[in-house]
């Protein structure tokens, strides 16, 4: 125990103790970085960051305890062991991020691999300090040793914990961070062969090993960067600029590479880079069929982007937007980036915002009929959303429309969810509407579909509003042609009492995730 160590004068140091202390600083930083990498990665991939971080840190710390305990079974050649240990940490820790990515992408046992890697790194890191302290114990007074090692250990941790979020994550990303720190660990190993020379004996072989490990990590850094960058940046490169849990959903805005994105419950709603394609396609074809429309209804669409397009038509006198979530419409009004994107559309005097369940509102609130309606709900992945795609919904909607009114409905991807798309068309038809489905490419979503409908028969629109970014007369006509892989398939009608669409939709999208 501590008090059994003699505190008398020590022999003249044969090792470069102050420099060894510096390596404590480095390995402490490395150790914390691996832990942060694992924690961040698991919370990004699995969600629920509190649980992920707690369990990763917990497992990591207890593995360190295990490592410390195991250190007492190492007796001879401590210096050599220390260098080997550094190399092992360098390899396992350095490659931890790529390993975990691969495990997530290619195995079903991500959690097993995760905790395995965390255990391994933690155990190895736990061995480092006790061994180093034992190497130094004959060179430095015990109280100075403990004070010095632990001080630098903690400073190293602080160093890493600040570096990681502020510099490493934004600039390098997870994979390169972990490889870089692996390299650093291996460098400490190499450097130790110099510092501990007096205890090592011949160092040629050891140095060669160090070189091999460093080369491996360097290669990893060059190539791994290349092929993991794609996934990594997709998931993490974007910074979260706004996050809110409203009463109904989690609203997140991220920013990256010149555009920003809105996610609801983790599902992408738009990217500022190409949302104009989507919203032009949603809004202008209906106006082309029913020019001069005065009263416009928008169901969903709390981001205000459809309103922006609607207001481009000067005849419009009143826009009623019914969106469930005040959290969403408030954000569309007040969040500077979104507000700029929608041109402050929700504050236009012609626009009236109502926060209510659109189906309940339509059913229960009387009012003059609308000339146009845009139905822009999230995809039907729950029963509460699925009801907004039922024949009942379209019937209720029709009661609130003029006889020559036109409706445009976002109706998911005819390519990725072909049956769901045609189920929506079939359901609208079953409610008595004449339907003309169409589609276009929205790069951040894929091929996206809509349905244009009216109580009366109507022609595919020939002329859209001039001066749009994407839609022209030709582009509009092209949207109404369905290539073979998106052609109509027979499907059941989505009714309140069967909600077949929710089942179809979840089944179809599962194939793509």
């Amino acid at each position: 125990m501590a008090n059994s160590i003699p505190e008398g004068p020590l022999p003249t140091p044969t090792l470069k103790a102050p420099l060894l202390f510096l390596s404590v600083l480095l390995i402490a930083s490395c150790g914390l970085i691996y832990e942060l990498v694992a924690g961040t990665l698991s919370s990004y991939l699995l969600g629920d960051s509190v649980t992920q971080f707690s369990t990763v840190i917990g497992v990591y710390l207890s593995a360190m305890g295990l490592g410390s305990w195991l250190s007492k079974f190492l007796h001879r050649g401590l210096a050599r062991r220390f260098v080997d240990l550094e190399l092992a940490v360098a390899l396992v820790g350095g490659f931890s991020a790529p390993i975990l990515f691969m495990a997530f992408a290619h195995t079903h046992a991500f959690r097993v691999v995760l905790y395995g890697v965390v255990m391994a790194v933690g155990t190895l890191v736990g061995l480092e300090i006790p061994i180093l302290m034992r190497i130094l114990k004959d060179q430095v007074r015990f109280k100075d040793l403990v004070a010095g090692v632990l001080t630098l250990d903690y400073i190293g941790a602080l160093f890493a914990s600040l570096l990681f979020p502020l510099l490493l994550m934004p600039k390098l990303g997870l994979v390169r961070t972990s490889l870089l720190f692996g390299l650093l660990n291996a460098a400490v190993g190499l450097w130790s062969t110099h510092l501990l020379q007096s205890q090592l004996g011949p160092t040629r072989m050891i140095r060669l090993r160090c070189a091999v490990v460093m080369a491996l990590l360097a290669v990893g850094l060059v190539f791994a960067g290349k092929f993991t960058l794609a996934i990594e940046e997709e998931i993490f490169a974007d910074e979260i600029v706004y996050a809110k849990d409203s009463a109904y959903q989690r609203i997140v805005l991220t920013r990256g590479r010149g555009s920003f994105q809105l996610f609801l419950n983790g599902n992408l709603q738009f990217s500022s880079a190409d949302e104009y394609r989507y919203h032009e396609a949603l809004v202008h074809p209906a106006f082309a069929v029913r020019p001069g429309a005065k009263r416009v209804l928008i169901c969903g669409g709390g981001d205000g982007l459809a309103v922006r397009e609607v207001l481009k038509h000067p005849a419009v006198q009143e826009v009623v937007l019914v969106d469930l979530d005040p959290g969403m419409t408030d954000m569309a009004r007040n969040q500077p980036m979104v507000r700029q994107l929608n041109g402050a559309a929700l504050d236009d005097p012609r626009v009236k915002v109502i926060n209510a369940d659109a189906m309940v509102w339509l059913q229960e609130t009387p009012g003059p009929p609308f000339d146009l309606a845009f139905v822009d709900f999230p995809d039907p992945n729950t029963y509460a959303l699925g009801k907004l795609y039922t024949s009942r919904f379209y019937r209720i909607l029709q009661r609130r429309l003029t006889d020559d009114a036109v409706v445009a409905v976002q109706s998911t991807s005819p390519l990725m969810a072909r049956q769901s798309f045609w189920c929506i068309t079939a359901t609208m038809e079953a409610s008595g509407l004449k339907v003309r489905p169409y589609h276009l490419a929205v790069p951040s979503f894929g091929v996206w579909g809509f349905a244009l409908a009216s109580k009366r028969d109507f022609e595919v629109p020939a002329h859209v509003l001039p001066g749009l970014r994407h839609l022209s007369d030709e582009a509009t006509a092209a949207m109404f042609a369905f290539p073979k892989d998106m052609e109509r398939v027979p499907v059941e009608v989505n009714r309140l009492d069967n909600q077949v669409l929710v089942h179809l939709y979840t089944r179809e999208w599962r194939r793509w995730s």
Binding site: Y383, A384, Q499
Partner: protein
């Protein structure tokens, strides 16, 4: 000393852990939301831990943080009848037909008479609101049922129900094959049912997860047996099972089922799967307030076979409304108009030369009323008829064979919905490990998926002795009822208590007739539907089954008996 420093190290370790977590949180972009999450999780956790850590017995009986009350039926008024001896009123108003009881049966009789142009009738209902066990209530959140809450879609032969549904706009027409088409908003919205078991919610009522091959085999074998009965036709072409039961065959092979309990029948067919038996026991509790061993096998099979669209096909879909069958009551009461007198209890019925003298007590105005009626339709329960109709018990001893199970129904008004995992909130939400039947969500059919709602919670008292069960229920005050409800729901919704805005309780003393083995086809029991002089009887319990269709059928039958007695040759609505 040593253990002391080890402890310090341990504490140091814990601090270090939180230090790491803290650093992470600060550096993370999600700082704020993370803390929110952590705090919320922690609060939930503490609440749940606190609730489960203290054993039930030593937990102090909680004073609930929400209000509520015991609502009708008017027990003192009802029991007053047994005392007998009411002085006569000053005068007896002449009326052609007097209907006693404004439940489904009584109102349907009125509907029928009005439909035939026989306008001179009165309906007496002792409660302030009509409907009986199909009554509904309403508050600022939603209308809600007080008991009956759904009706299976009628087949095309059930003319009476089809006629009623057409009048209320629920039957929209017939499709090309001649099958009725019903309004989408009235058909029970998906998801219809879910089951709480093993700490989470599952889709449907039959728990598929973890079922063994043998469980599955028995499940299918049982429904094949049901299909066999659904396909059965007797020599006259009548099915063995149909709704209402007056359309059922009385062929001996079908009738023989009534001599066994459902439990014995299941044993005899080797149906031992615990999951299957749970499902069937649930069906008995839900529809009859009885158990496998106190239900006739005929009734047990009736529940399933009579609802089949055809052999091998699915069960008929259900029709429902936020206010349950109160929706149908609203329509029926309109047909009776101001001839419906609520808060008026018939106290005696006795013959007098060529008519019947009926006395009644008007509880609202605290006065005695009397009618001199040509005919009476007694549409209240038989245990009341015994006290009201002079000398009835002696000539109809079979009356005493009717046993009614008591029920407790609670309506919970919730400020918002509890957080939960697994299959989402459905219309009917059943807890497997519970004596109760779970709850029905009133806002499900009105499409409100967010915010405040009303849940109607059902608990039949299924013990073999109905009188003892009734005494038990009657002894329960509001806190005892509220505790029963909250304790029952806690496993599925540990955070419910904080969400309840109020909890109101209805104690139904004579809620549901039990189809005990041997009752349904007993000739003396069946003869209870026959008139007694100029008194005609109508009530669901005369079928031995508590169902809207049965009550309606008896109401129409009684009304048509009266019409026939008046010499009106009408086409039957049945």
């Amino acid at each position: 000393m040593r253990s002391g420093s080890a402890l310090l190290c341990g504490i140091g370790g814990i601090c270090r852990f939180f230090y790491f977590l803290f650093i992470y949180a600060i550096c993370s972009f999600k700082f704020i939301s993370l803390c929110g999450l952590a705090i919320m999780k922690r609060r939930d956790f503490l609440a749940a831990a606190a609730a489960s850590a203290i054993p039930l017995a030593c937990r102090p009986k909680p004073a609930f943080p929400f209000p509520g009350e015991l609502v009708g039926p008017d027990l003192p008024l009802g029991h007053w009848l047994r005392g007998g001896a009411f002085p006569d009123p000053d005068r007896f108003e002449p009326v052609s037909v007097l209907i006693v009881g404004g439940g489904v049966a009584g109102l349907s009789a009125g509907w029928r008479l009005a439909g035939a142009g026989l306008e001179d009738f009165q309906v007496l209902e002792l409660e302030p609101e009509p409907g009986g066990t199909s009554r509904s209530g309403r508050n600022h959140v939603s209308p809600f049922p007080w008991a009956a809450h759904y009706l299976p879609v009628p087949d095309r032969g059930n003319h009476a129900v089809l006629r009623l549904l057409k009048e209320c706009g629920v039957l929209e027409g017939f499709d090309a094959k001649g099958e009725p088409v019903f309004a989408e908003e009235a058909t029970a919205r998906a998801p219809e049912e879910r089951l709480f078991a093993y700490g989470q919610w599952w889709e449907g009522l039959y728990l598929r997860a973890g079922a063994s091959v043998e469980d599955e085999r028995q499940y299918h074998a049982f429904f094949r047996e049901v299909d066999r009965w659904a396909a059965f036709k007797d020599a006259q072409g009548r099915p063995a099972f149909s709704i209402p039961r007056s359309r059922c065959s009385d062929a001996p092979e079908a009738r023989a089922l009534d001599s066994l309990s459902f439990a014995v029948w299941l044993d005899g067919h080797g149906f031992s799967s615990p999951r299957l038996r749970w499902l069937l026991d649930y069906a008995c509790r839900d529809d009859y307030g009885s158990r496998l061993d106190t239900t006739s096998a005929w009734a047990g099979i009736f529940y399933f076979a009579a609802r089949k669209q055809g052999p091998g096909e699915d069960s008929r879909p259900l029709l429902t409304w936020p206010e349950g069958n109160g929706f149908l009551i609203d329509h029926l009461r309109r047909s009776c108009g101001d001839r419906l007198r609520c808060g008026v209890m018939a106290t005696s019925i006795r013959p007098d030369t060529d008519s019947l003298l009926v006395t009644a007590w008007d509880a609202t105005n605290q006065r005695r009323l009397g009618w001199r009626a040509k005919r009476v339709i007694f549409a209240g329960p038989q245990h009341v008829a015994r006290h009201v109709v002079e000398g009835l018990a002696t000539v109809r001893p079979a009356m005493t064979r009717i046993r009614n199970a008591p029920w407790l129904v609670a309506n919970l008004t919730l400020r918002s919905r509890p957080k939960e995992s697994g299959f989402p909130l459905a219309w009917d939400n059943v807890l497997r490990d519970s004596e109760a039947l779970g709850y029905v969500v009133a806002t499900h059919q009105s499409l409100r998926d967010h915010g405040p709602t009303v849940w109607t919670w059902y608990r039949p008292f299924t013990g073999p002795d109905c009188d003892a069960e009734r005494a038990r229920l009657r002894a329960m005050d509001w806190p005892a009822c509220a505790r029963m409800v909250m304790d029952d729901l806690r496993p599925a919704h540990p955070d419910l208590e904080g969400l309840v805005a109020r909890l109101d309780v209805m104690r139904w003393g004579h809620a549901m007739v039990r189809p005990a083995p041997g009752l349904l086809w007993d000739p003396d029991f069946l003869a209870l539907s026959k008139p007694h002089g100029a008194i005609h009887f109508a009530h669901t319990e005369l079928s031995g089954l508590a169902l809207f269709e049965e009550a309606q059928d008896h109401g129409l039958r009684a009304a048509e008996e009266v019409l026939a007695a008046y010499g009106r040759r009408e086409r039957s609505w049945r």
